[in-house]
């Protein structure tokens, strides 16, 4: 146990801990919207398209996170635009964006002279090297997103659920749809640092489906997902440190393990409840 406390003395580990917590709270909010609207595949497309931005930023010597953000926002709003126009098959458009982003990323990274040491960290995350500046960026973005959800909770849920009716009620549906696309894109990019492009989506979905084992109320899924997300992330982080394995993978593993255990618990509970009813 003393070993657990002793690693808290290291600044890098405290930073990692804060990053894991903030990321899981951010993902809990935004992921609830993603899972409820059933746009997990779209979010996957946005995530992988952002790799094109990372590659391009490397090539031109810019901040890779900035490149990823530009690509992610453009693809997210682009997909929203396509789905509102309804003229193109949305799923095919996403698949093109998904693979094109990855392809562009690989091409530009390959063309960049010299060795690109941080590339793996974008694919699989590198939470242990998160710095103070990134932490502040994460904190500010989290606070803004939280404020947005608190103020506009009702219109956000209504436009997600029944956009046509929301429009009749005078809610500016397009504004909320596009704003949410931008929030999704930026949340994903900002979370890439923690678990990497390949695994980031699970942070936005597994805690939510875990929460949905217990409630089907949007307002209650958010805090529950935050709880399960934070627990799984912290467990994964400690595990990855002591067993020296990549933290992103460990976090996803623990989130999934947690889901399976709770799913088993719910199944068992329902099974015994049914028995009670039969006896009664």
């Amino acid at each position: 146990m003393s070993e657990v406390f002793s690693i808290l003395e290291y600044a890098f580990f405290r930073n990692a801990l804060a990053a894991a917590l903030l990321t899981s709270l951010l993902a809990a909010m935004v992921g609830t919207y993603i899972v409820s609207r059933k746009i997990v595949f779209i979010s996957g497309g946005i995530t992988h398209a952002s790799f094109g931005g990372i590659g391009m930023a490397y090539f031109f010597g810019l901040n890779p996170l900035l490149g990823a953000a530009v690509f992610a926002v453009l693809s997210a709003t682009g997909i929203e635009w396509i789905s509102q126009k309804g003229k193109v098959r949305e799923d095919s458009a996403i698949a093109i964006l998904w693979s094109l982003g990855m392809a562009l990323g690989i091409i530009f990274v390959f063309m960049t002279p010299g060795y690109t040491p941080n590339l793996m960290s974008f694919l699989f995350g590198s939470i242990l090297s998160v710095g103070k500046a990134e932490l502040y960026l994460l904190l500010v973005f989290f606070a803004l997103t939280l404020a947005f959800f608190i103020v506009f909770f009702r219109p956000v849920v209504y436009t997600a659920f029944d956009p046509e009716f929301a429009r009749i009620m005078g809610i500016p549906v397009a504004f909320f749809r596009y704003t949410m696309s931008v929030i999704i894109a930026l949340s994903i990019v900002i979370s890439i640092r923690t678990v990497g492009i390949i695994l980031v989506l699970s942070l936005f979905t597994i805690p939510q489906i875990t929460a949905m084992l217990f409630t089907r109320d949007f307002a209650k899924i958010m805090p529950l997902a935050a709880l399960w997300g934070a627990l799984g992330s912290l467990a994964g982080l400690f595990f990855s440190y002591f067993f020296n394995i990549p933290s992103g993978a460990a976090i996803i593993f623990f989130l999934t393990l947690q889901f399976l255990i709770l799913k088993g618990f719910v199944l068992a509970r329902d099974f015994f409840r049914r028995d009670e009813k039969v006896i009664a």
Partner: protein, 247 residues
């Protein structure tokens, strides 16, 4: 007779460049109960969207001589994602106009209004349930509550009798008859036989619109108006009495 609530004049509209409705005219008066019938793809739902103001017109105009009326709308349930995590209470609350536009949450007064509405509809015990756990009839009722909570002057219902059993259908029609004393109702259905005994007038929409100022329809009339729908006779057991006729 009082002034109409809404007038559609020479309206032509559709999606992208495809025309769905051509030169239709319709007047809706307070206390009207219009049954809108017609084949699938004939433009029934499109006409509703014109009334609700969410579809741009290619030609013609929509006017509201008494000012824009409060409209209650029940969409086709098949268009709704029933697995969305929203409770019955929140669903009905979504029919209320927000009173505070910069912090759009429900006020305590509005919450009470929602509970009252659910109580009237006999859904109060299901208020905290997600909509995915409701039966077909309960779902229609919950969406009808959402349409009614704003005290509409014009209630627009798009196929409210799908996914429901006969018992609920009868209950629904009794309820609508009661509501019709206070508001105009536009009821869309592909099944004319079921709705014709209760509506006052009938509009047949099939690309164009033909208005019958009564609820009596004969097969000949339907043929003349090019309205390919089934007529179901009403007795103890509803049964189809006429063969399908060609378009």
């Amino acid at each position: 007779m009082s002034k109409p609530l809404a007038i559609l004049e020479n309206v032509t509209t559709g999606y992208f460049s495809e025309v769905v409705l051509k030169n239709i005219d319709l007047e809706i008066f307070p206390n009207d109960f219009i049954g809108v019938i017609g084949p699938n793809g004939g433009g029934k739902t499109t006409m509703i969207k014109v009334l609700l103001g969410i579809l741009p017109l290619f030609k013609g105009k929509v006017t509201f001589p008494q000012g824009k009326p409060n409209m209650g709308y029940l969409p086709q349930i098949s268009q709704i994602d029933k697995s969305f995590p929203i409770t019955v209470r929140d669903l009905v609350g979504s029919g209320l106009k927000t009173e505070r536009s910069w912090f759009p949450h429900l006020t305590a007064k509005q919450k009470k209004q929602v509970n009252q509405m659910l109580d009237e509809a006999g859904l109060i015990s299901l208020a905290s349930k997600p909509i995915g756990e409701l039966s077909g009839g309960q779902t229609q009722k919950a969406f009808l509550c959402r349409a009614l909570i704003n005290h509409p002057q014009l209630l627009i219902l798009d196929e409210p009798n799908t996914f429901v059993d006969k018992g609920f259908e009868q209950e629904l029609y009794r309820w609508l008859k009661e509501l019709n004393k206070e508001m105009a109702i536009l009821l869309v259905s592909h099944d004319i036989g079921t709705i014709s005994p209760m509506v006052k007038t009938i509009a047949c929409v099939n690309g164009t619109l033909h208005y019958h100022p009564s609820n009596q329809l004969t097969e000949d009339l339907l043929k003349v108006y090019n309205c390919p729908v089934d007529i179901i006779a009403h007795g103890p057991v509803p049964h189809r009495v006429l063969k399908d006729h060609e378009i």
